[in-house]
């Protein structure tokens, strides 16, 4: 059945089964490929989006529960000041290797910095632990989060 959902500030209609995960609606129905499929079990974080401001694994959100909540994806996160700074820090520090997990990392990092503008290492561990990086770029992810915080202070 058709579901009307709010993604990146725009209204979209997705005519899919009620169980369909948001991830596949984003990727295949709305053609927003930035949100990645990694595990389908909320274990890797590659599909992280913001749902009502919370970093959420879109592979575990059935489209039918979205209601009027706004979904923000990597494609639009640069429109927020925090998201923009996170992207800038990621580029400055050349964080990515293969890059596949990084959209999810950036979504989690942006949610963290929105809540906690100057996170400690412990805050970073806490907020980023759900995002796997198989290339293990964790050293730079941590540094880039701190750099984004610094950019906000500057």
């Amino acid at each position: 059945m058709p579901y009307i959902i709010q993604v990146n500030g725009k209204q979209h209609t997705a005519d899919v089964e009620s169980e369909t995960p948001l991830l596949w609606v984003l990727r295949d129905t709305l053609n927003l490929k930035g949100t990645k499929f990694g595990c389908g079990a909320a274990q890797c974080g590659a599909c992280t989006v913001h749902l009502g401001g919370q970093a959420t694994r879109s592979c575990q959100i059935p489209v039918s529960v979205l209601g009027a909540s706004n979904v923000t994806t990597i494609e639009a996160i640069g429109e927020t000041p925090v998201g923009k700074r996170v992207q800038q820090a990621w580029l400055e520090l050349d964080v990515a290797q293969c890059g596949y997990c990084q959209s999810g990392q950036i979504m989690s990092a942006t949610a963290l910095l929105t809540k906690i503008p100057n996170p400690t290492d412990q805050d970073i561990n806490q907020a980023m632990n759900g995002n796997l990086c198989r290339c293990a770029t964790y050293t730079r992810i941590r540094a880039a989060i701190k750099r984004a915080a610094e950019l906000a202070r500057a």
Binding site: A42, Q54, Q60, I116, Q126, N129, G130
Partner: protein
């Protein structure tokens, strides 16, 4: 009562012509009753022939194996007359006179009508293919294998009366009572057991009936009208939905209830499921407790990103993405934790078990569920699981006791991780 011995295998099914039958609607009355009795769940194994037995089951004395109930003459029940079959089913006595272990729920099946026994007999004799597969010996020490004490046990604890309709109630209620007490043998898991492992009540005349019980590391929740820990907050329609699909707005099936939904209740007619709902809704609470009331402050705390303790922090990193900061999950696909009887109940075994071992896929009518609980056995320590489970039991207005690392450690030892493989047990 039933534990799956090992990692279950993928679908091993006979040639294509029959493959579709594995999940087909029952064709005969006998087959329907066999579904209602969930015979297949214990008398088949995932990679075995239908009803050929061989399932390892825990018992207080040691492991026993379910038996071959196909019409094979040498290894099955092919030589059973209707009377032999009836004795086994309703009295727990095999054709050769030996007494069955009460893992076979004959105390419940004693409630079956003669007509239904006959229909079941016809199904097993005429519709189930004979399978040559020898029964396995119980792993019970020799000295404890004497079966004569079972006669005494039977004399003390089984009901000889059969089911009598209660004229004070209408037909659907009585149909529900018949299914719940009899074929459904719900009490086998949901009724607490006494000193001799007997169910403390076999029908609604006892307040212990379906009052919740712990078996093999799982706590089967109370099915009585307790407001927070039972079905007091569930409508009859929601009970029906749960039995039909394995989940509803309040929660999802897990543990052996998965087998019940997969192999039994999802095949029942809407009328029968409604009857079960009607009957269960009539069982009064066995204790008074306040109704669950949602507390929004947990969600505000989690959304703020400053979890105050390790349990909340673990929830935020490990669980929140699916079960949400509200604890509301995404029902019916992802179970809510706020107000879920499994979370609220005094015995936290099931909740701990699910976190440790995850959940096997629900497969109502052959369609695997879209979402599945992963396991955290390898990812979290006993202490961490205790912390996160304690958090869930006290968040969003949930009011239940804390859990200790020791409880988790014991369950870790005595349980196995769930397989993610879809298992469909065939009846033909």
């Amino acid at each position: 009562m039933r534990y799956i011995a090992a990692f279950l295998l993928a679908l091993l099914l006979p040639p294509a012509a029959q493959a579709q039958d594995a999940t087909a609607k029952p064709e005969t009355k006998g087959e329907y009753l066999a579904r209602a009795g969930d015979c297949v769940a214990c008398h088949s194994v995932a990679d075995g022939k239908p009803f050929a037995g061989g399932l390892k089951m825990g018992s207080p004395l040691g492991a026993i194996y379910s038996t071959n109930i196909t019409p094979g003459k040498e290894t099955g029940i092919g030589l059973y007359s209707l009377d032999d079959f009836d004795k086994a089913l309703r009295k727990g006595v095999a054709r050769d006179g030996h007494r069955l272990y009460p893992a076979m729920p004959y105390p419940s099946y004693a409630k079956l009508s003669d007509e239904d026994v006959k229909a079941l007999y016809d199904f097993f004799m005429k519709e189930v293919p004979a399978a040559r597969q020898a029964n396995l010996d119980p792993e019970i020490p020799k000295l404890l294998r004497w079966r004569w004490p079972l006669a005494v046990w039977n004399a003390m604890f089984t009901d000889k009366q059969g089911f009598t309709a209660d004229p004070k109630h209408d037909a659907p209620w009585n149909r529900g009572a018949y299914l719940v007490q009899g074929l459904g043998h719900c009490g086998a898991c949901h009724t607490p057991r006494g000193w001799a492992f007997q169910e403390k009540a076999l029908d609604d005349s006892g307040t212990a009936f379906l009052a919740g019980a712990n078996l093999d590391g799982w706590y089967a929740a109370s099915l009585r009208q307790n407001l927070a820990t039972g079905l007091g907050g569930w409508s009859a329609a929601e009970i029906t939905e749960f039995l039909k699909t394995g989940h509803n707005v309040h929660g999802s099936a897990y543990g052996s209830m998965l087998d019940v939904v997969n192999n039994s209740t999802s095949y029942l007619t809407d009328e029968d499921l409604a009857a079960i709902g009607t009957y269960l809704k009539s069982l009064p609470a066995d204790k008074t407790e306040p109704a669950y009331a949602y507390d929004a402050s947990t969600a505000t705390m989690l959304a703020g990103g400053h979890p105050p303790d390790p349990g909340a922090a673990l929830y935020a990193t490990t669980c929140q993405s699916c079960h949400r900061e509200t604890g509301g999950g995404s029902p019916p696909f992802v179970a809510p934790l706020a107000g879920n009887p499994t979370v609220l109940t005094k015995d936290a075994s099931s909740l701990i078990n699910i976190v440790l071992n995850g959940s096997q896929p629900l497969v109502p009518l052959g369609v695997p569920e879209a979402y599945r609980m992963p396991q955290f056995r390898a990812q979290l320590t006993d202490q961490q699981i205790a912390e996160v489970v304690t958090f869930m039991r006290q968040a969003w207005g949930n009011k239940a006791d804390p859990v200790t690392a020791k409880e988790v450690a014991e369950l870790r030892k005595s349980t196995d991780p769930s397989s993610d493989q879809v298992v469909i047990l065939r009846m033909r």
